[in-house]
């Protein structure tokens, strides 16, 4: 794996506000946010449900339009989705009608890479996430953890400046989740990219991140900016160290202090889609 030649993936956020909902129901999901993220940094955003952390991620991916403020990646304003800013959702979004290999190769197909070359690249990427031998399966023949690995491989094949992850391991069982966290760190050492990782799991955030941003409930503001310099490579034993426990207590207090009324979960695509209209085809 060759590292990118020019360090890229700097994020500049200044006075950023994002409004969701229409007219009367409109509300500020993110308000006057300021933040700089360095190239190659692994940043976790921690916050209670509905605090707007996924909304921020959606704006970085280009799926949501900010109402106000500046949102730049490497000095260029974010405008619409781009392969430069890869997104991993909590539930996989693999195409059920494409084999695992063709799913991973999709980004290269879109940029016009030939069939043989993109298949070879996809196989290489699948090996990186530990899924050799599964290339010809359908996505729904894989377990949840494997599906997320494919999803990560599919995003990374584009060599993005940003890897945006919205609680990617939130739907996995505890053991699989630990394995996936180690795998993600391992991949990140080989393919250096800026990672913005949204979670509400304190352990996960402390284990993964270089830097931890804690957000308040809606409207989301950053209430804490922690630098985590646990040595890398990090192993699972880290979570039982005294320093880890101290930081965890600190985060718990921050979140407890900010606890308000419970809010519905937001997604990087905006408000949850209302699907209460019965649908018939005849």
């Amino acid at each position: 794996m060759n590292a990118p030649q020019t360090p890229a993936g700097r994020i500049d956020i200044r006075d950023l506000s994002i409004t969701l909902g229409e007219q009367k129901q409109a509300f500020e999901a993110v308000q006057a946010l300021d933040c700089q993220i360095e190239p190659g940094e692994f940043v976790c955003i921690l916050g209670p449900s509905g605090c707007g952390k996924s909304t921020l991620l959606g704006a970085l991916a280009g799926h949501l339009q900010p109402r106000n403020g500046i949102l730049q990646v490497d000095g260029q304003a974010v405008q619409g989705p781009s392969p430069q800013r890869g997104m991993v959702f909590q539930q996989h979004t693999l195409f059920p009608w494409r084999s695992v290999r063709d799913n991973v190769a999709f980004g290269l197909k879109m940029s016009g890479v030939g069939k043989a070359a993109r298949r070879a690249a996809a196989d290489e990427m699948l090996a990186l996430v530990g899924l050799e031998g599964f290339a010809d399966r359908w996505p729904n023949q894989l377990s949840g953890g494997m599906q997320q690995r494919v999803e990560i491989a599919r995003v990374l094949i584009n060599r993005p400046r940003l890897l945006l992850m919205d609680e990617p391991f939130g739907a996995l069982d505890a053991l699989t989740r630990l394995k996936m966290q180690e795998l993600l760190l391992d991949i990140w050492t080989r393919i250096r990219t800026t990672v913005v990782f949204v979670t509400h799991d304190i352990d996960e955030a402390l284990f993964l991140a270089d830097r931890l941003l804690v957000m308040s409930p809606r409207p989301g503001r950053i209430i804490e900016d922690l630098r985590l310099d646990f040595p890398r490579p990090r192993l699972t034993e880290l979570v039982t160290s005294p320093e880890f426990s101290r930081l965890k207590r600190h985060c718990l207090e921050l979140l407890r202090h900010e606890e308000g009324r419970p809010l519905p979960r937001l997604s990087p695509l905006g408000l949850p889609i209302e699907n209460n209209r019965p649908r018939f085809a005849l």
Binding site: A61, G62, H63, G80, P81, S82, P83, R85, G86, M87, F89, Q91, T93, F95, P96, W97, F106, G107, M110, S111, W138, N140, R154, V155, N158, P268, L269, I273, R279, F280, A281, L282
Partner: protein, 260 residues
């Protein structure tokens, strides 16, 4: 897709039971208060009528005339139904512009179209194709809209993030995502297209299964009517099955959930 052998036994048995009931009811002239079988031809009479149809040498011409009309109407409905369905499913603008008139046309039965179809088209052949087309169009159109609207918005967002343009979005995401629903529409549309055959071939002067059935009615040849009805039933079922099989080949990732 292959059914286990054991499941063919009840299926065949059910058809045979219906046949047995028909034979008993017709030969004994059963009168079941609301319905009476006293004037219904027996299966044997129907078989004799069928043999007569084969002997007359006209079966081939009837079949080819009907098949070509259904096929032409169906293909037109497929192209227009899927095309309009994708447009309506994807764009609010297209929905507001196209759907209201289509919804007005939808409840109009095929038989009501006959006079206008004769007036609008240069040949009776085209009028007949048009009527089978109206039968197939709406199931295909509505199921396509349903399928396109049902594509997961997260898949669309992901495809955009991976660099898909408009064309790739349609071919790689929207159409495959809607495919199971479109295939359901195509299978239903195949049935309704046959459904309209008798109506459309009322215009016909010479050939067609529907024409044969309608003519037998006008000359009160009841056994022949049943032959025509059964032919339409069998052909309709066969072609619907064919569409489902073809659909299964086109959507290898899609396995409908099994029944207990």
């Amino acid at each position: 897709m292959a059914l286990p052998f054991l499941r063919w036994i009840p299926r065949t048995g059910s058809l045979l039971l219906c046949l047995l009931f028909w034979q008993l009811a017709a030969s004994h002239h059963w009168n079941l208060l609301l319905v009476t079988f006293s004037n219904v031809p027996t299966p044997l009479a129907v078989v004799q009528a069928a043999v007569g149809l084969v002997d007359s040498g006209k079966l081939g011409e009837h079949l080819s005339a009907s098949l070509s009309r259904v096929f032409a109407g169906y293909v037109a409905a497929l192209v227009i139904g899927v095309g309009l369905g994708v447009a309506i499913g994807r764009s609010k603008w297209a929905e507001d512009l196209l759907l209201p008139p289509l919804e007005v046309l939808r409840p109009i039965p095929a038989v009501a179209w006959i006079p206008l179809a004769i007036l609008m088209f240069p040949s009776s052949e085209l009028s007949m194709v048009f009527i089978t087309f109206t039968g197939a169009l709406f199931p295909i159109l509505l199921n396509t809209i349903h399928g396109v609207e049902g594509v997961d918005p997260r898949l669309i967002a992901s495809a955009k993030s991976l660099g898909a343009g408009r064309r790739a979005m349609l071919l790689e995401v929207i159409l495959p995502g809607a495919a199971p629903s479109i295939i359901t529409g195509l299978a239903i549309g195949m049935g309704t297209s046959w459904f309209c055959l008798v109506t459309s071939e009322m215009i016909s002067g010479q050939f067609g299964i529907g024409y044969y059935t309608w003519e037998s009615y006008t000359i009160q040849n009841y056994a022949d009517i049943v032959v025509g009805m059964l032919l339409i039933g069998v052909l309709g079922m066969g072609s619907s099955l064919l569409i489902k099989r073809l659909g299964g080949l086109f959507t290898p990732w899609h396995r409908p959930k099994g029944k207990a």
